[in-house]
Every structure is written in C-alpha cells, then in structure tokens.
C-alpha cells in the first residue's frame, strides 16, 4: 500500500475547473425491469448518445436515474425511456461544473468545502457527485455564475475556469 501525505489547504488547489453549459438534465424513474429494458435500448443506439453525466440510486424498488446530455440528444433518450415505461420525473436546463484534483477521492473535507462555497453563494445544486479525482455538480443555468464565485472562494484552478 502506497501512502501519500498531503496538507489540508485553503483554498484547495485543483488541476482544473471545467464548466459545460447549455445542456439538459432529465430525471427518470423506473423499476428494475424497466431499467434493464431502457439500458439495453440505449446501448443499442447508433450513433451512441453523447453524455455529460449520469447517476443512479434506488428508492425502495424505484431506480432514480439522472442523465445530463446535450439538448440535441434528448429526443432519443426520451423516446427510449417512454418505450421502456420509465417515468419522466423532471426535465430542465443544466450546467455541469467539474473540479479535478489530486486524490480528491481520498481526502476528507473537500465535498464540505464545495457545498459551503455553494451555500454561501445561495446555490443549491441539482446533483453533486464526488468520486475518484472529481467533484461534479449539475446546476441550474441561472446559478452558474454565483456557484463559480462561491467555489472560487475555496478552490483554485491554475488556468482559471476552463483554463
């Protein structure tokens, strides 16, 4: 086992901060059987759907699938979802922010820093994912600028946004 020692530093240094704007986020709900049908249909699509982000969790027997993708990809996803019997629980514009950094998945406190930054900016994300080297947030487009300012108080990126 390799051990790496790092400091907790404020602001937190990142490799980069990326913002992808002008996309749509769809919230789908389906049973396990419907999910099997939906994912089989999506995997057969040609050309494949372009994807910004995707997450899934379960509430009891219901899969809650959140997919963010470019707007021109949405009709094919909606068509597959309807065919599989999935319920469209929500649909809206979204921007996605990614913070990449060293050992982000192995260091305590980073998600808290990000949420505190958002909270001080008065922003509640649509979705938040912290995994491997990434913190990833889906935001309502109107919240993007405030979110970046809030995150900028707590994280630094060497080239700035999308630098």
């Amino acid at each position: 086992m390799e051990t790496v020692a790092v400091f907790f530093e404020k602001p937190v240094r990142t490799y980069g901060l990326m913002v992808r704007e002008g996309h749509l986020v769809l919230n789908l709900e389906c049973t396990a059987g419907q999910l099997a049908g939906l994912t089989a249909a999506l995997s057969a699509l040609e050309p494949p759907l372009r994807l910004i982000s995707c997450s899934l969790l379960w509430e009891e027997e219901l899969a809650c699938l959140q997919v963010c993708l470019p707007g021109d990809q949405v009709p094919r996803l909606e068509q597959a979802a309807v065919h599989a019997g999935a319920r469209l629980a929500g649909r809206g514009q979204a921007s996605v922010v990614n913070l990449q950094g060293p050992h982000f998945g192995d260091r305590w406190g980073l998600a808290s820093e990000a949420l505190d930054g958002l909270g001080e900016a008065g922003v509640e994300p649509l979705c938040f994912l912290g995994v491997t080297h990434t913190l990833q947030l889906a935001l309502a487009p109107d919240d993007s600028q405030a979110a970046l300012e809030g995150l900028g108080e707590r994280f630094t990126a060497p080239g700035g946004v999308n630098g």
Partner: protein
Amino acid sequence: MTHLRITGWKHRRDLSLLAFKDWPWSGVNSLLRALAQAHINLPFLLMQGGGGGVRIRLCLERGQRLRAEALAGDLAKEEGWPVPQVTEPVIALTFYPLAGGMTLPAEALACLTGAGLRPLAVGTSLAAMTLILPEKMLPAAVRALGRRFDLPPGGLPPEERVSVVQSPTPRES
C-alpha cells in the same frame, strides 16, 4: 458481437454505504461539515436534489461507519429528518474510459440488470464510471460485465493501493 474495450478498472473494498432521503441542502451541508471535522473521507458521494429534499448515497471506510452514523443520527434527531439506512460491506468498482458517451454506463447497466444484479448507486465523472455494489456481488458482476466487455486479464479488478494521510492542520496559502 464485438466486445467493448475498457482500458482500466479498479475497486475499493470494505466500505459502508449510508443512504439518506428527504434531507434539506442545509442539513446536507451540516452533515458534510461534521464528517469533515471528524476527518471522515467519502470515497463516493452522490446527492440528487428533488422536490421532497435531497437523496444522498455516501460511502466511507467501514471502520468509520459507527462514528458517521452517530453524527448523522444526532442531526436527524435534532431536526426530525429520516435516519440513514446502512448497507455493508460494499465496494466501489471504477472503470474507464467514459469517452463522453452513454455507451459505457448503458452497456454496464444492461449487463448487470440483465443478470438480475442491481448496483446500489452509479455515478459518471469526466473520464470514468463508478458502481457501488454489495461486496458479495463482485464475482457475479464481473461475470456479467465480461459478456459484453473485453476486461483486463486477471479475473477481478485490482484493489486500490493508495492511502492518503491528510494533515488536519490547514496550510494557508
């Protein structure tokens, strides 16, 4: 049918999954702050907002579960929020590349659900996809994925071999 190529995969084991529902974002902030103050790392954290509140799935090392559960329980009791549900042991299985498309998550989920396996949570980052699975499901999951993916040799994904020790003393830059 051509198998899909992945360039790498790995897993992290001996984790606990805590599932929360209907917490407000302010409560989520309080929870994450408390976990940070207790130096509890979250190798996987997924939060979906919604009308009824936030749905949270967080993973942490099993040895820290009791402490995290107590911190969350205290907040839940104070504010009247639902207490978390615990599943353990679980693993985080990560593979890549995502390549900006739906192919990897759709194929992986189709393989697993087609075999009757249900990942507890899934998230994609810029380059990779991570599945949270019950630990005992790993061999069956690998068999199911192997029907569609050209998996690296060795049978099971390698275990992550990096441990990060983070000094609790902030270094002001």
